[in-house]
Symmetry: C2
Subunit: 481 residues, 2 copies
């Protein structure tokens, strides 16, 4: 048997280089808290360090890893730093990374059950586990009328939910003959921008996303929703979809699901619940009240890739009626037909999402749940909430800072009493120091700082150091003004 | 400084378990060609081996890896087997897997330039490299009016292209006020099912995807496209989008881009070119004719995750006018604002795609290009085409088999002369043997077998063994009938 010429990495080379990458990552964890959290490079600086043209001849792997260190790392904003308090977290963990590695090594594409039964069945199974772990409604179980699936992001989950809602409301007419401009969707003024994006993508038009006002805790006012739906019906429009948020991006506001769900049932509207970050909290019984009324929802999602130690991408999305979702997406060309699909005994997840292809993402989620156990996950989630509440108490006690909203979980919205300009300067100066990274929002028309505790390795000392730095910068700014 | 209780994997544990996973993958490569390619499990068999409930306490990593071997592996259809000739490949390689591992380890979320400048700039840079490597139109370069971005799949790229086309055709009215039911899209009868899916998602309605007939080589007939567009205009419809395919899924048919592009320019239609699998061939100058006329296209995509040794997901998508794409997707809520975005000097890729979040996928593509070099990639692509052509010559010489279409590249469509029923039995029996995996399509109304050569480690001996097995099964079936 003759050996063919090959440019592939051999298994032996892979063992050697693979160990080097594993060690690089372990070393990275050990030093990441000393690196500036927000990358300090200027636009174009990374590109300027890269050759203009691709190489004709292959290069040794050692060179690549060297360039990761010297060229790439300075351009990294360290989401895995324990001093990362910006946006929402995208935390990760050893088991998740190794699950992702195994998925890449197996290299299966799980578009159909047939194309790797384990890829589909493990996903279904772990999402059933999560129904139990989070006390989600029984209708979300695969053995009931619904089921769960992993999407890349909450944006995609919201889009899928909206599309199924659009089809249910029009008897699948929109899928077949197109939208007619009368469909209306609802979310609160605090809902994530992905709802507006989904409404545009699905052909409803952004003007047909009607934003419902919120109360003083930034939660949707159910009576305002109800009034708007009635008004729209009188105007000849066709209300079809409500997105309620559990833990808004700006302030972690909690929409009242039971009241909203009751309206949706009465009005025949699809209720989607987006708990992208905050949903993880429901692993602890004491925080489960945030999902009260979820049994009235048609679909639900949260992101283990935000706060549950599972590397991006991993959004878990459940529907109560899988038939509506599958019918929305299903197309079966000849080249994808197979006896398993025809038997009706299997799930083909390609009909549960926008893309056709899919990675084996269930592996990393399975690894996380099994490595931590439910108790380990609960421990770390509780600890993050405690640390955020502690930070909030310091804000309140400080005199010169104030809370912009009551922090229900792990996000603290606060501001210096010195006004928007001072807070903007404070944000820039804190972030440019590299010591920590926080971001901002507008609440009640005022510039507000967001401090979210959810990074895997954030401990009390990091939160304390962050607070000291924020105070020190406030001292400087107060002296300057 | 007190140590907090932790359930996290320590860096030292990560080194140990990481090495075990790296070795597992290297071992897997060494044995994968001896495993049955198509998983032999029955529906529900994998789930039956998994505990009904998640664990309360964490489990040792060794247990997880043991279960991957004993529970998961039997449910894997081996896309990385050199005996995988089904669908289109989803091949991978050592450098790609290690790039994915590093991306998971860094755990950055590249929605904005700011959230990791290197994630954005490396992606822009490598996609510019690919413009050079594949001799793509200059307008696709980031320094011109266009630019490239990595999507999860060609399905998503097609959807993005269609949405930008929808907005360009309606002056962004569809985005704002919704679709009006008059928009029409076009593709050939051989186009991928993702075009129909995109048309449904975007609110045009499947009935408004008009399928254009093909010639004897399964390529779109430009005069038929032209006639249909005229007819639709006369009927008061609004033609907006054409998807041409370079290398159709059924037969690798090559739509004539120059003729189609000329019509699209005359008619003001957005031309998207989908070369998901075949596009990789254009790295070799002798195959570059398949993209002749691409400079007339508004957008283009191909998937390094199919045939270019880069693990799924990695679809490269270029537009000639990035402004139309960005305007289609852009929404800037307060919590994502930052000075870099406001400066206009950076790319924020969240405005180039459906989801908000994104992984650092450029790392693996960069690793592949640098590890193989252009010459290494050319070598393996050429070799796959040679092997497919060799297989086709055996089919032609066999007497009892025939080619269903001329194979332009690495996909051979063929059938036994004994009719559909015999070919169906042949497919089942070959696949159930585990020796290789092939799939089917319908061409000219007849059941046709597809044999695609593109797996990373497929060598001549695997193609020879596959042909021997197919002949042996044909012998059996001929005796039985």
């Amino acid at each position: 048997m003759r050996r063919e010429e090959s440019f592939h990495m051999t298994p032996e080379e892979f063992r050697r280089h693979g160990r080097a990458v594993i060690d690089w990552i372990a070393d990275y964890w050990e030093r990441v808290e000393r690196l500036p959290v927000l990358s300090q490079v200027r636009p174009g600086e990374i590109r300027a360090a890269l050759p203009a043209s691709p190489p004709t001849e292959g290069e040794p792997f050692e060179t690549l890893l060297h360039d990761v260190e010297s060229v790439i790392l300075p351009g990294v904003t360290h989401w895995q730093s324990p001093n990362f308090f910006a946006f929402f977290p995208a935390n990760t963990s050893g088991p998740a990374i190794l699950g992702e590695l195994l998925a890449a090594g197996l290299g299966v594409q799980g578009m159909l059950w047939l194309t790797s039964p384990a890829c589909t069945e493990l996903e279904t199974h772990v999402l059933d586990w999560l129904v139990e772990m989070f006390a989600l409604p029984e209708s979300f179980r695969s053995g009931s009328t619904g089921g769960g699936v992993i999407q890349d992001s909450a944006s995609s989950a919201t889009l899928c939910a909206l599309l199924a809602a659009r089809e249910r409301a029009t008897g699948f007419h929109s899928n077949e003959s197109g939208c007619d401009g009368r469909l209306v969707a609802y979310a609160s003024t605090q809902a994530h921008s992905s709802v507006e994006k989904a409404v545009a993508i699905a052909g409803l038009g952004r003007a047909n996303l009607h934003l419902v006002e919120v109360d003083s805790a930034f939660a949707m006012r159910p009576e305002a929703l109800s009034a708007r739906v009635m008004e729209d019906r009188r105007a000849g429009l066709l209300p079809c979809f409500v997105c309620a948020t559990v833990g808004t991006t700006s302030s972690n506001g909690l929409d009242p699901l039971r009241a909203i769900g009751t309206i949706c049932r009465e009005q025949g509207l699809w209720l989607h619940v987006d708990a992208a970050m905050a949903g993880t909290a429901a692993i602890c019984p004491e925080f489960r009240h945030i999902l009260d009324g979820l049994e009235l929802a048609d679909s639900y999602c949260f992101n283990p890739h935000k706060w549950m130690f599972t590397n991006f991408d991993c959004d878990c999305f459940w529907v109560a009626d899988r038939a509506a979702l599958v019918r929305t997406f299903s197309i079966l060309p000849e080249y994808l037909k197979n006896r398993a699909t025809e038997s009706g005994a299997v799930i083909d997840y390609r009909d549960w999402q926008v893309p056709l292809g899919r990675r084996f993402r269930a592996l990393k989620l399975w690894f996380v749940v099994r490595s931590y156990g439910v108790r380990g996950l609960q421990h770390h989630v509780r600890r993050h909430v405690e640390l955020a509440q502690e930070f909030a108490s310091w804000v309140e006690a400080s005199g010169r800072f104030e809370l912009a909203a009551r922090p229900p979980l792990n996000l603290v919205c606060f501001r210096h009493r010195g006004g928007d300009a001072l807070n903007r300067d404070l944000l820039d100066r804190v972030n440019n120091s590299g010591a920590l990274f926080i971001t901002q929002t507008m609440l009640d028309g005022r510039f507000t700082l967001r401090f979210c505790v959810g990074q895997t390795r954030t401990e009390e000392r990091h939160v304390e150091a962050a607070w000291r730095k924020i105070q020190a910068v406030a001292d400087e700014l107060e002296l300057e003004t």
